[in-house]
């Protein structure tokens, strides 16, 4: 059975196919309205993540399918201590495909190991969240027309931000990509990415502390939040936090066709004054998220039937 647990479960060609399908859905939505009639997705959300859950559920509804599930572990037998394995075995008697979100790392893999139907990882703690990465890739394609020959700025918490890690891993497969990694010294990318991906694959990158100085060269700016809890002391946080907040002043130096992405939710790292700038792509990114999930559900269900 084919599942999606980690973004590297998909080859580059498969990723490209999903992006093509999603792009076709955007242009010809009517061709897809009955593709999954009589099919059900179960959304098993052991921790709340309303945006991700609604995205999966609308994806299935727009394919003509239906939705069952729970949106927090307080419901159902899960709260009585049922194992992930048992829950998945039970739910797969009703559902054709499962999307699981769980606070513990590796939970989605455990689900997949016990499921006779396809499992999609909708986030397992701070570990993997492959549909976010697919969303980011589709956003870049729709907004820039390509995944190659791009200078991608990643800004904020690059140490703990899993979305940035998977984006770098996924984009490293395309040619002509260059990274500008913008963060305070405390929150630079982990060694395994620097040595295991960037250096090993000979991908050009620079590490810098300043968003101001690097914004002008970027085609994509991927923003993440710098959280207070990540700092040893309050003074460092107060001193640094404003440098990683995107404001109209900073944006003034950016290219006119740069695009700003953000995995959301946003707290204050992007000033709301920017929301109506055509370069702000983060709300369109949410829409793309539904389309790529539609493409993914279609692919996994088709493969399951074969």
């Amino acid at each position: 059975m084919r599942h999606l647990i980690d973004i590297s479960d998909l080859t580059r060609d498969e990723t490209n196919e999903l992006i093509e399908t999603a792009s076709d859905i955007i242009v010809n939505p009517d061709n897809y309205t009955n593709k999954c009639s009589r099919k059900k997705i179960a959304t098993l959300f052991y921790e709340p993540s309303t945006r991700t859950r609604l995205s999966f559920e609308s994806a299935m509804l727009d394919l003509g399918g239906s939705v069952i599930g729970f949106s927090s572990a307080q419901y159902s037998s899960v709260s009585k201590g049922e194992s992930v394995a048992d829950t998945v075995r039970t739910v797969s008697c009703f559902a054709d495909i499962i999307a699981i979100r769980h606070p513990k790392e590796g939970a989605a893999l455990v689900a997949a190991m016990n499921s006779p139907v396809p499992v999609i990882n909708a986030g397992d703690g701070g570990h993997n969240h492959p549909t976010q990465t697919l969303t980011d890739l589709l956003t870049i394609v729709r907004e820039k027309g390509r995944l190659t020959d791009l200078t991608i700025g990643c800004c904020g918490d690059l140490k703990f931000g899993r979305t940035v890690h998977s984006l770098i891993t996924a984009m490293a497969r395309y040619s002509g990509v260059r990274f500008v990694l913008i963060s305070p010294d405390e929150l630079v990318i982990p060694e395994y990415l620097r040595n295991g991906v960037l250096k090993r694959e000979n991908i050009p990158y620079v590490e810098t502390r300043s968003l101001d100085e690097s914004i002008a060269e970027l085609d994509i700016l991927y923003m993440t939040r710098v959280q207070k809890e990540r700092f040893f002391n309050e003074a460092d946080y107060v001193r640094l936090k404003d440098s990683y907040i995107l404001t109209p002043d900073k944006l003034a130096h950016a290219k006119s066709d740069m695009r700003i992405l953000h995995p959301l939710p946003r707290v204050n790292e992007i000033s709301t004054a920017i929301d109506y700038d055509p370069r702000a792509a983060y709300f369109r990114q949410v829409r793309y998220g539904k389309f790529i999930r539609m493409a993914l559900i279609l692919k996994l269900l088709e493969e399951a039937e074969e």
Binding site: V84, K104, E105, L109
Partner: protein
């Protein structure tokens, strides 16, 4: 005591100094009834210092666990006071329920019945990662 020589059994030599006790626990030698000797900090030309385990019984045992500790370990099989075979353990691809994942955010912390599994992720650095959360194995 069998420190000098054993007649029938196994001598595990070239254990990195300080890890003999870990191996003793990994192999669950405390469950055996036969004579066992752990020699720590013996002199070694190769390693400077080493630990040695002598077990007075032929064990039906998966020696690949030793490969997890160090693949330079030597396993000597002794019969009638003579060494009949010498082996180096291979690095096992998968370690199942041998070491535990220490990542507090790992699914194995809440799902008690899951086997703790580690996969050999890098032969050069000899590192194992939890199959669930991908954290690096830490020696016990």
């Amino acid at each position: 005591m069998i420190i000098g020589s054993i007649v029938n059994g196994i001598v595990i030599d070239h254990i990195p100094a300080g890890r003999g006790m870990e191996l003793y626990k990994l192999m669950k030698l405390n469950e055996l009834k036969c004579e066992i000797a752990l020699i720590e900090n013996a002199k070694s030309e190769k390693l400077g210092k080493k630990d040695i385990l002598k077990i007075g019984e032929m064990l039906p045992f998966d020696y690949s666990i030793l490969g997890y500790v160090d693949s330079r370990i030597t396993i000597n099989f002794i019969e009638n006071g003579k060494r009949v075979r010498k082996e180096h353990p291979s690095m096992p691809e998968i370690l199942s329920d041998i070491i535990k994942c220490k990542n507090p955010r790992c699914i194995t912390t809440t799902e008690q019945e899951l086997p703790h599994k580690f996969r050999l992720s890098d032969r050069e650095s000899l590192s194992y990662r939890c199959v669930y959360c991908e954290s690096k194995a830490q020696s016990n």
